[in-house]
């Protein structure tokens, strides 16, 4: 487990070079600039942080370094999932803090939208569960394409989610969800966990035999 700590530390160290870019994104997409759309940061910022964090190991040289370490490949994969989870949590916390700041700035009542935070967290884990298997399966050649697709997905996700929530056909699902919120959340969490586990297994299989 000591090696996983070292790998997670490595990912955190590598993301630090993007600190100014992330700060700009956090400000631009938060309620500080987007006065009428405080939810935008929740869809864009965690996705950006995740993609930057994972991309730091996309080069062949980085993969060769990692594989040359006395660490089994499945542990390399596990560490990537763990550091990605840390980035998601950090991004959601930063997004929340930025919106708090915007509420204070504009004299609005400070509010905490737990549904939005939890929804962002779970949706980012689902996003991660799709993204990482592609990262390990396609390698460097396909990864650049996957990155572009994922960035576009993130940018469109906010609009899609808003449309979904206002679409009358989805009202039925929303009503069922709100009727039993506790059970619904448990179901969503279990579904997310299942997706993560399946994703991890696929990633290990893809990476476990890859020639570098």
């Amino acid at each position: 487990m000591h090696s996983i700590g070292g790998l997670v530390r490595k990912d955190i160290l590598l993301i630090r070079r993007f600190i100014w870019l992330l700060a700009i994104y956090a400000i631009v997409f938060s309620g500080v600039v987007q006065k009428d759309n405080q939810t935008l940061i929740y869809s864009l910022f965690p996705g950006l942080l995740l993609i930057l964090g994972i991309s730091s190991d996309s080069q062949r040289s980085a993969q060769q370094f990692l594989v040359s370490l006395p660490v089994p490949r499945n542990r390399l994969v596990l560490s990537k999932y763990l550091s990605s989870m840390i980035f998601i949590v950090a991004a959601v916390l930063i997004s929340t803090a930025m919106n708090f700041a915007s509420d204070l700035l504009y004299g609005r009542p400070v509010h905490l939208d737990l549904m939005l935070i939890a929804g962002t967290f779970l949706s980012m884990i689902i996003f991660l569960s799709i993204y990482l298997p592609f990262f390990y399966w396609l390698g460097l050649k396909g990864f650049q394409v996957v990155n572009v697709v994922m960035m576009i997905t993130i940018m469109l996700a906010n609009g899609a989610a808003t449309w979904l929530l206002t679409e009358s056909d989805s009202q039925f699902l929303q009503d069922r969800f709100l009727a039993q919120p506790g059970l619904s959340w448990i179901f969503l969490i279990l579904l997310t966990l299942l997706a993560s586990v399946i994703s991890y297994i696929i990633s290990c299989k893809a990476y476990g035999t890859r020639d570098l």
């Binding site: 160290l13 060769q64 370490l69 006395p70 089994p72 490949r73 570098l212």
Partner: protein, 288 residues
Amino acid sequence: MTAIDVQGLSKRMSGFALEQVSFSVPRGYITGLIGPNGAGKSTFIKMLMGMVAPDQGSITIHGERAGIAGAAYRANIGYVSDENIYYDCLSLGQMKEIFKSFYPRWDEEIFKEYLDRFELPVKKKIKDCSKGMKTKFALALAFSHHPDLLIMDEPTAGLDPVFRRELLDLLAEFIQDEKRTVLFSTHLTTDLDKVADYITFIHRGKLVFSETKDEILERHLIVKGSKELLDADTRKEFIGLRETDFGFEGLTADGSRLQSIFGSSALYHQPTLEDIMYYTAKGGKAYA
């Protein structure tokens, strides 16, 4: 005792195939891995380090199965790649902090000694370092966790002659206790002339030989003579032959036999490793 044992190793990749390579790297000595570009040296080293999986065969390092499936064996290996594999955006000091956490036998004092010896500035970013500095840094990392085995892929490429000599001295120091082993691939056979005990030669994916350097140099012979000495039978005695209008020069793997055939009609001298590699790569083709 062997440090590395290779049995029936095969790997097919696009435009290249390593075929049924079997040999051992003895413990306590320096083994040089030579071969022309594309021979399979780097692919073989990557298989040792678990970066590439062989299609067939096995590799054992210090008794442990090596390859993609294993990992613990790499804790005792100091690895120097032919290209920089460390994160360019980090400084030497930051990269060291990441690296050392994976090696229980990491020795900070030794690392500092090598930093001073190689004159490496710890705060300099890796991307701002020259190729030589990057290699020196890789060497410092490799030496600093007390490995039992040093595996290096073209470590002297890009190094100035002064440091190359220093590196060869370091390698000779490294194996002084006769328990530690060095395997390094190189094109610069003059380096192996100085320090190698064993030579393994791979050509077009096949093993040509794996023996002590002294045996190789004693067994092989460069023969020079007039064209009249060559016929269908004597040509077969040569690994590689170079013919001109005035005569020939060739390499044989059985010097004593050719000396008994040609006697004093030909001139003989001991080849260098470079001669052996050159004539083997050229093969039996006659050329000027």
